[in-house]
Symmetry: C2
Subunit: 345 residues, 2 copies
């Protein structure tokens, strides 16, 4: 009978990771130390890397499949916001002890689900033990036509500001995971609760939106650390000012309901982070095309503001045109306490 | 006056990482979430990823510059063994607390030295805090002509087996770091001690050897977990047997002296790991060309054995032709105790 524990890196690779690389020629079934990646002529490779650590980016007892999904999703989110088509990824996994087969199988299932959803394949990795917490570091690769990666620093005054999907659900989902009693206090149906938790556990960046971003956006980035903070970053990188109309920010029905019932504030949602949506600026002449392409890709976008001159600063205004102030603009993975999750509700 | 501590990811990137990306167009001065990499037509990208963790791969109190150097070197080692020219790398750094500027400056200096030695540039990264130990995960990129990445699984019976540089110095260097009293017991001069420690602290994979490997090797991999273990892996992946003549394995003068004085055994050196040299198989007809190209690149290689049919197994023989037995064949990063360094001497 097979042991519950598995304690050789090669056995782990063969049983759990190699199937995720199957069919990708340059992955060599993960039997080599390196992968080889061919690019179509006229393409650039777009590269991003992000790590998630237990106790920092997810609850230590979190489901292995959700951890795996999220580790890939946070990287794919960066690719999509650059207009890139996801291709492949490599992963370094640091495990706090010899894991059980069951845990590894659940982790691999989560990765498989995510890579199928996002259209990319595992092509290499490194599995180690660590005296510290579980951590997953992924480097993901996508492609764009040469020289066409959409940057965050190229927004121009006059551009319109768009965001995909809805904002704030993930931060509500995290609050529900941290304090299960909230679901009753907030009078959520089981379905609604699951829907919000899923936005935290299994974020789904809008991969279908990448071609529209590539074709139409003057600048773009993903929203990972809170809409307000990320918008301010984009404006700073671009040397421009900008304005978001808070009332235009798209909320899901549950999120809107929780704001209406004062269970959450709009500020909570605009600064909560983990949305993994695309924030893009688009010249007015391309706006119609951008909206149509997004709708056609089933990745709808909402116009939430405009880019202005640097002198006007970066502001979020309410329906009456008054500037909103925020106690915190978003999440700094680095400055926050290292031993807790981003948001205490 | 600037604080000793620095606690924003953006400040760290700007002060310490961005200078390492300077001049690489697709790195965008590390101001974007992604990098863009262009490849020459007719090239493949070769990709590898490896992490190093404090207390597992280096002593927790180790010099920051050496940690940084080693984190990059272990990845470059994989590229060189595939015949690839190093181009660039991305890094995720998990820091156990808000680091001091002095530590970050030393770490960045170590990276700069390594990337200049190896000919590659930082193009992206992610800096996080962790409740666990310091860890550095690097994904490195190199290029080879399309379809030409040298694999470990393509050795053929009749091929000669070569290794670059000298074997076993790094494991002696680690022993000296762990137990400073050894230097006196082994009667080492300060220079010799430094030389051995440097092989552990700042491994220097033979980047100059890559073109010779590409031109002449039928199979290759780097020696990172011990020559005997890595040779067995190569034979297994290739479906062949092989023989190493222990007396032919190149040793540095200090290592040979320590074996002669019985301070260390040959088995210690052949299984110690961390050599970061290239193990290559070469068809007899290409052997002269391989040796000449290696010498011309100032990266000499030594013939240490031959590939045979699978039925003959994988063996290491002594000068009398007797098979040597090993208590351990090398280091498994995964199976070993998670809280100690690989080798207790």
């Amino acid at each position: 009978m097979a042991s519950d524990k598995i304690d050789s890196e090669e056995a782990i690779i063969g049983a759990f990771w190699a199937p995720l690389a199957s069919g990708f020629p340059g992955a060599f079934d993960l039997k080599d130390d390196c992968a080889a990646l061919s690019l179509d002529a006229g393409s650039d490779l777009v590269i991003t890397t992000d790590a998630v650590v237990a106790g920092v980016h997810f609850l230590p007892e979190e489901d292995a499949g959700a951890v795996a999904w999220k580790a890939l999703a946070v990287n794919v989110s960066d690719l999509v916001a650059k207009g890139a088509v996801p291709l492949a990824y490599v992963m370094t996994l640091a495990l706090p002890g010899a894991p059980e087969r069951k845990w590894l199988a659940a982790f691999a299932d989560g990765l498989r689900g995510a890579q199928e959803a996002f259209g990319c394949r595992l092509i290499g990795g490194d599995t180690d033990r660590t005296p510290g917490p579980l951590s997953v570091s992924i480097t993901a690769f996508g492609s764009v036509p040469s020289g066409r990666m959409v940057r965050r620093s190229t927004a121009r005054p006059g551009d319109l500001v768009y965001v995909s999907g809805t904002i704030g659900d993930a931060t509500l989902g995290l609050a529900l995971r941290r304090d299960p009693a909230l679901a009753a206090r907030w009078q959520l149906s089981p379905d609604t609760r699951s829907q919000l938790e899923a936005r935290h556990l299994r974020p789904a960046p809008p991969t279908g939106l990448a071609p529209a971003v590539l074709a139409c956006a003057s600048a773009a980035m993903d929203v990972s650390d809170g809409l307000v903070k990320d918008f301010a970053r984009m404006c700073r990188a671009s040397g421009v000012g900008g304005q978001i109309e808070a009332a235009r920010v798209p909320l899901s029905a549950p999120a809107a309901g929780l704001v209406a019932s004062k269970a959450a504030t709009l500020a909570d949602l605009l600064t909560g982070g983990e949305d993994y949506e695309v924030l893009a600026t688009v010249a007015p002449g391309r706006a119609g095309e951008f909206e149509r392409a997004a709708n056609a890709a089933a990745a709808p976008v909402t116009r939430i503001g405009a880019i202005v001159a640097a002198e006007s600063g970066v502001r979020v205004i309410d329906a009456a045109g008054q500037e909103l102030a925020f106690a915190t603009k978003g999440w700094d993975h680095f400055a926050a306490r290292g031993d807790t999750l981003p948001r205490e509700k």
